[in-house]
Each structure stands twice: as structure tokens, then as C-alpha cells.
Amino acid sequence: MSDTTTSAAAQVSDFRLTPELVEFQQMIRDYCRDHLGAADVVDREPRFPREAVRAAAEKGLLCTTVAKEYGGTDLGNLASCVMLEEINSVCASTGVTISVHNSLVNSLLGKWCTDEQKRRWFPKLVTGEWLGAYCLSEAFSGSDAAALRCEAKRDGDHYVLNGAKLWITTGSEAELFVVFVRTGEDRVKGISAIVAEASLPGVSVGKKERKLGLKGSSTTEIVFEDARVPADCLLGAEGEGFKIALDTLDGGRLGIASQALGIARASVDLIRGHLGQQKDHKGRPNASQPDQWQMADLAADLDAYRLLTWRAAVMRDRGERCGTESAMAKSCTARLANRAARAAVSILGQGGASGATAAERLLRDARITEIYEGATDIQRLVIARGLLA
């Protein structure tokens, strides 16, 4: 997400959002009601939720992390978290598309682009005319991101890109790629960040992944074959790429944490609806105590981990380092989302697993939150390293 330091006034005062944020949240809920009705269809066909993304663009939801002078709403990280929880509680495929666009691509460009670069790309990105994708992972570098091999060789006023990126969210739908490339031999200092437009010759969409969940989201390989990228598309200086990648992920993790919160909340809502229907012959609630307890534990963790996520978001909004805090938020929320979705399937029983409710989709969608933008195991090591430092 963005690193804009928003106004000095607190966004969360005594654990309550400001009235402006509450109003924003309501606007998002209206958007969800009006535009995310096809979540199940998007999952089953599957197809990219183009209409939903377009409607989001029209509501200004694709530019929450862009400064106002470049056409953004500059609402910052916390507002983005609020928004993403709502959207992901209904459709995680739409959610991740917006999360990547905002919290990885726009946020990164806002922080690392020159003014000229911003003026080149933001007009298309803030309106959603273009979607952005973040190209870090490769077949042989997932958690070990610094092992990347995709190469960019300087040739006059161009870089020539060769290699392939894997598991790129929005890959087949994006018009702009932020690509992390190898410009030098040093494992870390040899990495640079560059923008490659999808329309360039030599840039193509490779294998499309068939996945457990998030089926509406496009996840593809992006292949670079002698793709000539103008040198003025470089972000920052040569060798700054890894720093840019990791810094951006600190914010991106808040987007995924919010996705996880949305999935967890939807799961708890399903359980609540199911248990609420269980009555004795006098109409009194009589859901089993163990089921009620499980719901209570999930609901408590949902509240706790939302606060954890928001804490990291306001820290980032203040321009503070939040590596440990965002790792805590992501690892806790992602595990919760999976726990909650599994509980929903289990408690809803046959109706949970048969596709008659959203429970089985939530279970499949939840699973990715522990994997992408830094697997849970990596988050734990980040936290432990902070504690042992």
C-alpha cells in the first residue's frame, strides 16, 4: 500500500474508525451489494471479474494509494484495509485483483517513480483503464525471492529482458508489469525493478495456472523474450530492486491480511446463520455448545486480528517501519481465514461441502492467503528475527 503519510489526526481513536472511514466503509458495502453478485459464477466458470473491477474503478477504488495530484484518492493503507476486507468477504477473486493493483503496483509506483514516470502511468492506472501486476516470483524463486534469474541487459537506452515470471496475479489481464530483474551478479544488489508494458514486443502471457481457488483471478506465467524496455522505465536506481520489492510487500501483506479477514468474516457469518437456524421445539436456540464455542473463538480472533492489521496499517500510513507488525497481521489473519473456512464447511456439513453455500469456495480461496506475498513460515521467521534481534 502507499507510504503517504496521511493527516496527523488519528484514523483510529480508541479503537474506532473516524466517521469518514465509517462512511467510506458503508460506500464499499454498497458497492459489494451492487457489483459482486456474481462471485459464485466467477468462481465456477471461471472468469475474470471484469465488470466488478470496472465498477470499482468508477467508484475510485483503484487509486486509494495514489496521491491526489496524480488523480488518486490518497486514502492510505488503513482505508485500503477497510475496503479490502469488505470486498473479500464477498468475492476474493475481485479482492486480490484490487489488492495487487493498489497495494503492490500503485503503492510501489507512488513511492519509487520519478514525477515524470508517475505522470506517464498513473492516469491509466487510477481509472482502471490499465491494471497492474507485480512480477517477482519465478519457477525457482518463491519464498527465496532473491534467487530470481530473469535478466535485464542494458543495450543503449533500453534494457533487454529475458526470462519468465511465475504465479503472476492478474497476469493475463494486466497492461503494466512491475518486473524484478537481475541486472547484476550480486544476489541482492544485482536486482532491479522496472516497468514493462504488456503491449511491448517480446512480452507474453505464458502458462495459465489452474488453481484450488481464487479461480476468477488470473494467475499466469509472464514470459520475456528479448523484450526491449526503455531505460527510463527503471524504478529507482539499478540494484535497488530487492529493497523495493520487500518494502512493497510489507504493505501488500496488509492487503492480503484484509483479504483473509474478509474470508474469515464471511465464514463466521455462515456459521452464525447456520447455528441461528437451529432451534428447539419452543423456538429457542439450541445449537450444540461445541459449535457455539468454535464460533465464539473464531469471532474473538477475527476482532483481535483486525485490530492487529489496522495497527500495522496506521503505522505504515505514518511512514513508520512495520515489518514485524505486518508479518504478525498476515500470519495471524491467514491462519484464521483457513481455520474459519474449514470450520464453516465442517459445521455446515453436507451443505458446506456440496457447493450449496459459499463455504467450500471460502475454504478454497482462503488457502492462498497462507502462501502468497510471503508464506506464513516466512512471516514467522520475520517476527522471530525481530524478537531475537
Partner: protein, 346 residues
Amino acid sequence: MHNLQLTEDQEMVVDTVRKLVADTVAPNAQELDEHRTFVRPWFDELAELGVYGLSLAEDNGGAGMGFVPYVAALESIGEHSGSLARLWIGQMQVVLAMEQAGADLDELAAGAKLGVFLGAEHGFTISEGKLTGAAELVPGALEADVLVVAAHDGQDLALVQVDAAACEREPVHALGLNSAACGRVRCDGVPGAALPNAAAAIARAELVGLLGVAAASVGGATGSIQAAKKHAGERIAFGKPLLVQDAVQRKLVESGRAASAAQQLTWHAARLSDLGEAAAAVAIEARIAAVDAMVLASDEAIQIHGGFGYTVEYHVERHYRDAAVFDVLDGGSGKLRDRLAAAQFS
């Protein structure tokens, strides 16, 4: 499979199944699952091996081998295909319920017809020979020839056989067991034949179902662990195979421990039953532990696979989905826990 102490004949059956799994099931299970293809050919191959009569008394044309080789063989199927395992389980439930009821079961034991058992948890009722009720998620339902149903007849449970074709059936978009022709079943006054000896027959079908899902889930856990171990041995991160990281090893150890404990419970329940002792409670314990082990092992296997694990090509996401479906079948693990409680405290 140390210390299960199979007889030579039993060992032979298990080995034959294992070979079928290795040659035919393992290489194709993922693709067929992805396309939701029903694996009738595999079901027929198992029929040719005669496994549906495995636990049937010799007097009734079966092999009379009890449940120990059944769980051993199912474990090896479960390693690669939860769908096929579940079809076998359903067939066995029907065959053994029919045997207990003294009904004609030759075509079912031979696998010429596909049978599906619907347990009491679905709440079917029978009145004046007409079966009424609905079940939301029934593996095998879409392709079944025969349904054998535990139905309430107003007083006790009755065992009812119906022609599956007479029921409304429609596909469900289930989370897992995609190759098992899962469907919704609806009977609105379908004529059914009530079979004798219902209580014992239903209890036997339940037992074989519990043992079967337990064994298949132990297999699914093992399959997940093996896939993850293979991947972790090959995948290099931070300059070393993933498998040298103690955290990755620990995930596999914990998954293995869960599978091992569930396996012991499963074997124990099968042996108890073969000795003629009450085995239902241990079988429930085995089933819950085994499904939990499969959920854990497949979940950790996905995590060890990282991004690869989220794609459909590495088997582990399939085990994860199948495990979640196993969890909700037969009334679901919550209700099974309630049954354990009822047995102890009421």
C-alpha cells in the same frame, strides 16, 4: 505396513490392489479429478479383482477375509484416489448390509451393479413401502444402480432397497471426490423393498463405512506426505533443498505422527471387529483421527509446496479437498463425536 500380520492370502489381495493403484490410478487420478470424470473403469477393475466380496462370508460367495485386508487395501487406494476409495466403501456398505439382511447380493458383490448406502443421518422415512427424503451430497449417487437406505419407518430404522433410477438425482458442485459422481438424491415416495434384520445390517454398513473412510484417509495423509517429501527433496530454496530445513521436517513429522496414530486406531478397530468384538466406538475414533490427519497432512503438504501446492497439478490440493468432504460425510465429524459422547454418557 509392519505388524498388521496379514495372512498370505490377504497379503496377496492387498498387493494386487496396490499394483492396480500404482499402474492405473496414480498416474491418472489428478487429471480425471480435474475434469470431474467418473472412474467407473477403475471400479470395474476392482470388481475383477473380486474385492467387493472380500469381507463377505465364504458361504455367500465371498472371500471371508474380514476387515483387516479391507483397510489395508483401502489405505493404498486412498493414497492416490479418495474418489475410488469412496466408491469401494459404498459398495462394501451395500454388500455387507445385504448379507446381514440375507438379501440377494450377487450382482453387487461382483460389481456388476453399483450400490450406494444412505445412512440414517439423512433422515429418510419409509411408509407403506414408499421411500421419502433427500440427501445433499452422496458419492456415487449419479451413477448408482441400487440405493440401500437406512430409513425411519415410524418406530425403528428400516433397511430399504430401491432402484436408483427411480429417484431424482442431480449433480452437485462438490468440494472434492470429483471422480465419484457425487450427487443430490431426492426420493418422493419411491417404491422400496424393506429388508429384514435392519438394525444389524445398518450397524454393519456403518461400521464398514467408518473403517473405510478411516483407512482411505490414512492413505490420503500418507499420499500427501509422500508428495510433499518428494517436492521438498527436489525444491531448492536459499541454496538448499527445502527438506533440510528443520521446520519442513517438523511439518512432515507431525503429519506422519497423526497418520500413524490414526492408522493404529483403524487397524485396532478392524482387528476387534474380526475378533467378533464391539468395534464401533474405536472405529469412530479412528475415522475422526484419520480425517483430521488427512486434513493436516494435505494442508501442510500444500504449504510445503508453496505456490505449486495451490495449483491442481501436484495432487495435494486434491487430497485437501477430498479430506474436507470425508469430514462431512456419514453425518460429519461433529455428529460422530456426539455419538461417542452418547455411548459413554447416556
